[in-house]
């Protein structure tokens, strides 16, 4: 089965679309079969039954579930995700306001993961069973087993005690006047507007939560990188290079690292779902006010439209991340690109 990489990627996109449809059906059905009447919840206990009935009709709750779903899906594709019961605004407006904060946090966390974990894994594989390897293994084990809330709170405690003045909650200091920018990403908007103070202050706020969010991934990716490096060291072509006297440095960075970065990338894609899950905890601890905070509030308030949208967006995050991973792997691995030429 040899495929053009473009075909392969299109197939993947097709799969992702199917996954999104399945996911939306699942969450939609779940949100509709729960005990309790959405119309009643929207109006509160003081509404009369006539009012409730009117809202039921207006929300289309008297229609069969299939019709309700198709109606919802059609509107969702046009960007209409319904009204939020809590904020009394369209859900899509709420999302537009909160998603950038989370996007920024997640992006910086992913950067952290690769910057810390891949070099660490390489060094550990090189000095296998030496002190640095043991220290690194302890670190990655800690990353895997520590509850994210415990790590986040510990970071806050340490910052409060030893780094006075370092911000431990929020995205920006209150005394910085900032009206908001076009993208909602503070790092980028600050640069675009020529407000370096905003960018730097936002970066300062970002470091602790991003570190907390990346810890679990650092643990996983360090492990995977290490074992991939060790496994690939034994490959014939690496031994050949060694016997030709190619310097160790060149072998590691030019040949091994590329080969060994495929496994961590794949894991990164798969772990993205739990990354989003952990963002719920991290955003709560650091009062981040992003998409995950919005999700948590809407779940607690049983804001059905918002909950459905949050689940869908979380799924979309995962799918986009995995598409990027797929494309990166195709770029890195020439065996995947050359398949059609053979």
């Amino acid at each position: 089965m040899q495929q053009h990489p473009l075909v392969a990627i299109l197939t993947r996109i097709g799969t992702f679309v199917l996954v999104m449809i399945a996911l939306s059906i699942m969450i939609f059905v779940l949100a509709r079969i729960v005990p309790g009447d959405p119309a009643r919840m929207a109006l509160g206990p003081s509404a009369t039954s006539d009012q409730v009935q009117a809202v039921r009709l207006q929300m289309g709750l008297d229609q069969p579930l299939v019709v309700q779903y198709l109606d919802y899906a059609g509107k969702a594709l046009r960007g209409d995700l319904g009204m939020s019961l809590v904020s009394q605004r369209p859900v899509i407006t709420d999302l537009a306001q909160t998603v950038p904060a989370t996007l920024e946090l997640v992006f910086v966390s992913v950067v952290f993961m690769f910057v810390v974990a891949v070099p660490l894994g390489v060094v550990m594989a090189h000095y296998r069973d030496r002190t640095i390897d043991h220290v690194g293994r302890l670190l990655s084990l800690t990353g895997v087993i520590i509850p994210s809330f415990l790590f986040a709170i510990t970071l806050q405690l340490v910052a409060a005690r030893f780094m006075s003045g370092w911000p431990i909650i929020g995205r920006l200091d209150h005394d910085i006047s900032w009206g908001g920018g076009p993208t909602g990403l503070l790092l980028l908007d600050g640069l675009l507007a020529g407000r370096l103070d905003v960018t730097l202050n936002a970066l300062q706020h970002l470091i602790l939560p991003a570190f907390a969010l990346s810890m679990a991934g650092i643990g996983q990716i360090t492990r995977i990188t290490r074992s991939a490096m060790i496994e690939n060291q034994r490959k014939d072509h690496v031994l050949t290079l060694k016997s030709f006297g190619v310097p160790e440095r060149v072998i590691i960075f030019k040949y091994l690292l590329k080969l060994s970065s495929i496994a961590p990338l794949t894991i990164m894609g798969l772990e993205f779902a739990s990354l989003i899950g952990n963002a719920f905890v991290i955003e709560m601890v650091f009062a981040w006010g992003g998409f995950a905070s919005y999700g948590l509030t809407s779940i607690l308030q049983k804001d059905l439209n918002a909950v459905t949208a949050v689940v869908l967006v979380a799924g979309l995050f995962f799918i986009i991340a995995n598409l990027i991973v797929d494309i990166l792997i195709t770029v890195i691995d020439p065996r995947l690109r050359r398949k059609e030429a053979r």
Binding site: L30, I145, P147, S148, F280, I299
Partner: protein, 293 residues
């Protein structure tokens, strides 16, 4: 040829299991993990007799003893109501273990049976499992569990249901992969030719060969379930107060940061202790059975 004694099955079995035990007991991580888990089981089982203030598990209020730092009388200090955090932490372990038993007690057998069938028969079971896991993959488990448990009613029972609904697919997928590769082995074909029925093949031929994978996965999963449960209750989806539960104890203590740090760190480190134990044990089992995952 006289010295080439043919070993009978029981002798071979003995030496194989002895070899496994040898590898396990020489692995410091595995031994430490086992000791940790045994200590947790012991503490949780005998909590009423081992803890200094078993009454503090309930709605006791002792305002003179509020927010006491750790000392000889209160090893982990006291909380906002003057209750002994050490006692509450030990009782909190019970909830964590209950969650593990509940979630894995259902999702492991269900996942194993469906995975076995999908691997051996193929067909719709195969399609169902790969389809479901593909959807589940895209869903942050935490978000799903929050949504499910809250749309029902936020408590531990529903949290457990929510976790279980998600968890069995992973086991099914894993067992499916293993059983599919075993199903193509010659001895399965031989058993079929000898007239063995599908039930016999599934449970007497394939299942025993899946045991190593299942036990490693289950042990490592126990750590995940505990982490997961603690996170859920930290976010406010746990048991109802005043029942002690590690995640919600951390959440309670968070209001009094950074002054009363022990109220956060002690229950939090208890979670870490249990997950460490299960992880070390799981890694040890993996080395012992020599399975990859």
């Amino acid at each position: 040829m006289a010295d080439m004694k043919v070993l009978d099955a029981s002798e071979r079995g003995l030496s194989a299991s002895y070899m496994m035990w040898y590898r396990f007991s020489r692995n410091p991580a595995a031994v430490i993990g086992t000791l940790i888990i045994l200590s947790v089981l012991f503490l949780a089982a005998f909590a009423p007799w081992l803890t200094p203030y078993p009454k503090h598990v309930g709605a006791v209020v002792d305002f003179r003893a509020r927010h006491l730092p750790p000392d000889a009388a209160h090893w982990f200090g006291t909380d906002k109501a003057g209750r002994d955090i050490f006692s509450r932490t030990i009782f909190g372990l019970r909830i964590s273990l209950l969650l593990v038993v509940g979630v894995l007690g259902i999702s492991v057998p269900v996942g194993a049976v469906l995975g076995l069938m999908a691997g051996y028969f193929g067909g719709w079971a195969e399609k169902l499992i790969s389809g479901l896991t593909n959807v589940m993959l895209a869903m942050p488990p935490l978000v799903m569990a929050l949504a499910v448990s809250n749309l029902l009613e936020p408590n531990l029972m529903n949290a457990m249901i929510a976790i279980t609904l998600l968890w069995w697919t992973w086991h099914a997928r894993l067992i499916y992969t293993v059983s599919k590769s075993i199903a193509s082995e010659d001895y399965i074909e031989a058993a079929r030719l000898a007239g063995a029925g599908p039930v016999h093949i599934l449970f007497r031929e394939i299942l025993p060969n899946c045991i190593p994978v299942i036990s490693v996965k289950t042990t490592l999963d126990a750590a995940f379930v505990i982490l997961f449960g603690a996170t859920l209750s930290f976010l406010g989806f746990g048991v109802k107060p005043p029942i002690p539960d590690l995640g919600s104890m951390v959440a309670d203590g968070r209001q009094f940061m950074p002054d009363y740090w022990w109220e956060v760190l002690c229950p939090g480190l208890a979670v870490l202790y249990v997950t460490l134990g299960f992880n070390l044990l799981g890694d040890g089992l993996r080395d012992m059975f020599d399975v990859e995952s």
